[in-house]
């Protein structure tokens, strides 16, 4: 079953337990000063946005899209979408072209710019845990239930129930339900997510991005065969003319 993460920003208390658990899970360093870093980076895959004031918080992490742009653009298939939800990364396959970073609509993948053998770094939704039937490290660590892990459909139903129960409290949409074709991270918030730097829902629409290039690439075999046939035909004509001209010489 495809699983997902539901983050309800109204329940978040900015305790940063998710950040800590994420760092441990991904063998990243973590201390007070890293805790204060208000951005995702090569050593911090999730953070709680707390600069907005008014006790309004927002988590940032990889959306683990249902049809991920990064997976479609990777020339060597180093990024993989698992049917269970996670979008994982194989550093051994990666050649470091960074097309995933250019293409990601959420600006998620980060790079180890200071290393001589660099990797792409991002939240990969704990595939080792999720594929073993466990929940993600951040969901497990969350003391308030702001970050929930579970079946995607069940989480959507839960989110809808919450919006219906307290209509004035939430922005009445689930961010990630349909954005770029839907994501494995769903966000409920009392403040529009774009205020925290997420692309507004209208920016990319509800269609996944990969067909933008995949549909063009489908024409390549045609272009190659038609191109070959046309050029071959032209060569045959011009060559034939030469032969005729030669034979007509006295």
């Amino acid at each position: 079953m495809p699983s997902a993460i539901l983050y309800d920003a109204t329940l978040c208390i900015d305790c940063k337990q998710c950040e800590q658990a994420c760092a441990t899970q991904n063998k990243n360093p973590y201390d007070d000063s890293i805790g204060k870093e208000q951005r995702t980076s090569d050593h911090k895959f999730t953070y709680v946005h707390d600069t907005f004031g008014n006790e309004k918080f927002m988590r940032k992490l990889c959306m683990n899209c249902l049809d991920p742009t990064c997976v479609s653009v990777c020339p060597v298939g180093a990024l993989v979408k698992h049917k269970e939800g996670p979008v994982s990364y194989n550093a051994d396959a990666c050649m470091g072209c960074r097309y995933c970073m250019v293409a990601c609509p959420f600006g998620v993948p980060k790079y180890e710019w200071t290393k001589t053998i660099p990797r792409v770094r991002k939240c990969i939704m704990c595939p080792d845990r999720v594929l073993a039937g466990k929940q993600t490290a951040c969901a497990e660590a969350c003391p308030t239930g702001a970050t929930l892990f579970g079946d995607r459909d069940a989480l959507i139903a839960e989110a809808r129930k919450r919006i219906a129960a307290e209509p004035g409290k939430y922005v009445p949409t689930i961010y990630g339900l349909n954005e770029v074709g839907g994501t494995s991270v769903l966000i409920l918030s009392s403040v529009p997510v774009e205020k925290f730097g997420y692309p507004p829902a209208a920016k990319y629409g509800e269609k996944p991005l990969p067909p933008l290039t995949a549909d063009v690439l489908e024409h390549v075999p045609q272009v190659v065969t038609v191109g070959w046939a046309v050029l071959g035909g032209i060569w045959w004509i011009t060559n034939r003319r030469e032969i005729v001209k030669e034979s007509e010489k006295p």
Binding site: S72, A93, M95, R98, G107, T114, V224
Partner: protein, 382 residues
């Protein structure tokens, strides 16, 4: 031993190489962070925008001329097909070399051979580079074999030459348009003045124009430098085809701006609009305006000047796509670090150097029937 004479350009060349070597040290021993101004917000800089996009664009004369001469049988362009092929071959070799700097893990560059993802434009680009390099090696081999009078391999290559040239044209066309397709996936990031579903077609047509202009430029430049004359009718007919190609490009580009409604952004003065107008002036207004004047079109020297303008224009176009158009959405202003510029300058210097070496020692501007009866000793030729 005679020491090489110290001239201005040799000093420049040595300085570029020395700086390039220092930058290479920074890149491979200190990483991309120490050698570039790239960041998580701006992961592609001039090593992609100039070295890859412009580099490959400027090789387009190679497949255009090889196709025109060997498929369309346009005999009067024959003399210029080899210089164009050498440019293309060198351009691709240098691009492969430049990629070693840009890729985070260049030793994995061969991975697309065994790890397939046909949904990725980058996968297609990787394959095109590798295939076309192999094809150009076959197209270029006769030049070397002629030089050393190796008749048997020459005969074998002659048999396969037509399918090789046709495959080369097809692969190169796919590659040129694929470089535009790379940016189809960033509708929310590339500025609307450059983002259009037509990117693959625009990249292909503009590569034709830039490639022809580059061929006129380098042939004239090397003819001036090496004191050999170029047939005037040849240059003038290329000038006419360049004009037609530019007009086709202008129609596509301008129609597309109105079709997508992006022309509105051109009127909002600012960084992007300014760069857009510079590009439009150099790729469309100036070269077409000048070439429409018969006096300019029919004079080899003014044609040479127009070809330089055209090349510059399309370099601006590619940099606009790769850099200018991507800055606003990234939230940062990207200015290349000195070491990025120095690596790029080193690639250009290598290009000029190896082109000059090839012209000097190989039958590039000459032909089979014009070559000397016996292969001269290499030492003597030097």
């Amino acid at each position: 031993m005679k020491l090489p004479k110290i001239t201005f350009w040799r000093v420049v060349f040595a300085a570029v190489l020395a700086l390039g070597a220092w930058s290479a040290y920074l890149r491979f021993f200190r990483g991309l962070g120490a050698s570039t101004n790239l960041s998580d917000q701006f992961p592609w800089g001039i090593w992609i925008g100039f070295d890859a996009l412009c580099g490959i664009m400027l090789t387009a004369g190679g497949f255009t001329l090889m196709g025109a001469v060997h498929v369309f049988n346009i005999k009067e362009w024959r003399a210029i097909a080899r210089p164009a092929l050498v440019t293309a071959f060198l351009g691709y070799l240098l691009e492969a070399f430049a990629l070693m700097f840009d890729l985070g893990k260049p030793w994995n560059i061969w991975h697309p051979l065994i790890m397939w993802n046909p949904h990725s434009v980058m996968f297609l680009v990787g394959w095109c580079v590798m295939l076309y390099l192999g094809i150009m090696a076959l197209e270029f081999a006769p030049v070397v074999f002629e030089r050393f009078r190796l008749e048997k391999p020459l005969r074998i290559l002659k048999i396969v030459s037509t399918p090789v040239v046709i495959t080369g044209v097809v692969v190169a066309v796919v590659h040129q348009s694929a470089l535009g397709s790379l940016y189809l996936i960033v509708p929310g990031k590339l500025h609307p003045l450059w983002y259009t579903p037509l990117l693959p077609l625009l990249f292909f047509v503009s590569a034709l124009a830039a490639g022809l202009a580059m061929t006129v430029f380098e042939s004239t430049a090397s003819a001036r430098h090496f004191n050999h004359a170029l047939a005037k009718p040849l240059l003038l007919s290329i000038g006419r085809v360049l004009l037609i190609t530019l007009v086709v490009y202008a129609i596509l580009r301008i129609h597309d701006l109105f079709h997508t409604g992006s022309y509105r952004y051109a009127l909002q003065l600012g960084y992007e609009a300014n760069m857009f107008w510079v590009e439009m002036a150099l790729t469309i207004a100036l070269p077409i305006g000048l070439l429409l004047i018969p006096k300019i079109r029919n004079n080899p020297f003014s044609l040479y000047i127009v070809s330089i303008i055209t090349v510059l224009g399309f370099v601006v176009n590619r940099l606009n796509v790769a850099v200018t158009g991507m800055e606003a959405a990234s939230g940062v202003r990207y200015v290349p670090k000195w070491s990025e510029v120095s690596v790029t300058m080193m690639m250009v210097a290598f290009g000029i150097f190896w082109f000059a070496v090839a012209v000097k020692y190989l039958p590039i501007f000459t032909h089979e029937h014009e070559r000397p009866a016996a292969a001269p000793e290499l030492v003597k030729a030097a």
